[in-house]
Subunit: 343 residues, 2 copies
């Protein structure tokens, strides 16, 4: 970039920032303007103090317009065909007359430099549709930061009138538990073959799923996929029941052949009916709100502790003493707490 280009870029950025003011963004978002929604999410993601204050105002204003979408989490290891599946699903949802937003959660993107939705071209067909909104991964220094940005993005998307919000994540880390705790319905995409492919899926994720979908069920793969579905179905019966009385569904599906994409939609619909009737839909949302209140408190307390100047060198020293069995874990913790509290 030469000096002229740099100056032009800075000017553009200045203009863009100035346009990110609360009232314009809010009225744009409520009208369903995608540019305003996009700028609103950019504001959420900014680390500038003044932006953050403006973002909080925006989230609070949007809050009373939020809550009406169906929030769906989608996870699965790389290679399972998540974006192809989401694109097929999204197109169906749009064809039915609904609006769909796709947000991605990828806490690893900071490190790896990659982002699961970074390659926007992956969902070309969906992204050009008027009633679809695709937003690449929110980056953040911590899982807590990513969670916050995602939760707040959901509120903005809902205020913009989206009926379905899909939260996509990779099935390899802590991020599924996080996504599970901010959605109504959680889908796990799986590959047939049930062997090595599963290695990447974290233990416990299968038990969190409301639907388990064996993907790429087309051509030669269909028989294998059906067999895998049957096995998962048997396994699910061994799991303890969900509190909401929902029995997780297993499906085979093919995005390529549009096979069972509609059935996936129907499954979500019948889940929503089931949980709305027995009251667990609303209960779950309230629990999630409460969960995030206390989760954020824990996060803040811990990050204050671990970033304390006084403990910079002490933590590693105490960890070593504990691991070598010179002091107990509990005595180690007390030692660090005393330093932290100036005792």
């Amino acid at each position: 970039m030469n000096e002229e280009q740099l100056a032009k870029w800075k000017e553009q950025r200045r203009k863009r920032r100035n346009s990110l003011n609360h009232d314009d963004l809010l009225s744009g978002i409520i009208k369903g303007d995608l540019q305003a929604l996009s700028s609103g999410i950019t504001l959420l993601e900014s680390n500038r103090k003044s932006d953050q204050e403006e973002a909080q105002k925006l989230v609070n204003s949007c809050l009373k317009h939020s809550g009406k979408s169906i929030r769906v989490g989608v996870t699965g290891v790389p290679g399972v065909g998540k974006s192809t599946f989401i694109e097929a699903f999204g197109k169906l949802v749009v064809a039915k007359g609904y609006k769909i937003a796709v947000l991605a959660v990828d806490p690893s993107s900071e490190k790896s430099g990659g982002s699961i939705l970074g390659d926007k071209t992956r969902m070309n067909d969906l992204s050009v549709l008027e009633n679809a909104f695709i937003r690449p991964s929110a980056a953040g220094k911590s899982l807590g930061g990513v969670a916050r940005k995602t939760r707040e993005s959901i509120i903005l998307c809902e205020a913009a009138g989206f009926d379905f919000i899909l939260i996509e994540t990779v099935g390899v880390g802590q991020s599924e538990t996080m996504v599970k705790s901010m959605v109504d319905f959680f889908m796990l995409l799986m590959l047939a073959g049930a062997g090595d492919e599963l290695q990447g899926i974290k233990r416990g994720i299968m038990e969190m799923a409301d639907a388990l979908i064996v993907t790429k069920a087309d051509g030669d793969n269909l028989i294998k996929a059906r067999r895998a579905k049957k096995e998962y179905e048997n396994a699910i019966h061994l799991f303890p029941a969900n509190e909401n009385g929902w029995i997780p569904k297993t499906l085979v599906a093919s995005a390529l052949e549009q096979y069972n994409i509609e059935k996936t939609f129907d499954t979500i619909e019948s889940f929503v009916n089931h949980t709305r009737i027995n009251g667990s839909f609303g209960r779950n949302r309230k629990q999630q709100d409460k969960y995030w209140l206390h989760e954020t408190i824990t996060d803040t307390l811990m990050s204050n502790f671990y970033s304390s100047e006084r403990l910079v060198n002490e933590i590693a020293v105490v960890e070593k003493e504990v691991i070598e069995g010179r002091i107990s874990s509990f005595e180690g913790a007390e030692k660090l707490m005393k330093i932290y509290n100036h005792e």
Copy 2:
């Protein structure tokens, strides 16, 4: 209790307290004296400040004599036959020339008034053996408190020369995750029938188990138990692999007919060999020590926050605002943090 009895009881208690001094207890414990061990654990459980200081000294002194046992967690819903199984297993271990201690974790005991090992007579045959030590549930106000007492009891038992330490817990709460994080080997006892009986088992526990044992495999029940074992075996193959390379084993067993109790022992032995050879045994222990260091820090930070005078009424108010959608979870958390920090 009349006045005379009360006076006598107080005198006994005073004498007992005075006998709980560090040096006597330590030398007793190291000699393997069960009375000293028992008094040491009582000291750990005391809430008196002076006792707690003495207890910390004792734990630290025992620390260098600890670490040599095999720590085994046992869980399963009420009715699965935990104590019968543990008794049969314990007697076998003693017959092989080893020493076994059985500790119970029951964080619910405070509320329910009941304790899973409160009824000591349940393990009559085992408890009379010289090389067996049975300790009823540690009570505590919080899961963190119970965890600490149990971890420290393990250290004392190891200093007293026990080869096997069994930690028993009920499969219905957060306590399994806690027990899993303080043992080398984790066993889940299950009933045949695989239906309603599982309702009580928390989701995710099956995936934590290193061995899954279908109990009461005797008489008419044997065929049903074998079928259940087969089903669990199939389910386990669908789970992601353990980091330590161990494939969880499934067994049927009968304490009544002494069937496969020895095989349970062999399974633990082969697990220990497997993980010692690939180094994961020691790695896991170090990770556990580190985990408990940081877990205790989190616990302390949170309990300081939630017991803060300044927040007594505020927490419920903010929770309500969040649940009713008047402010976001994140703004609610910030509000409480500001009050806590006098800002």
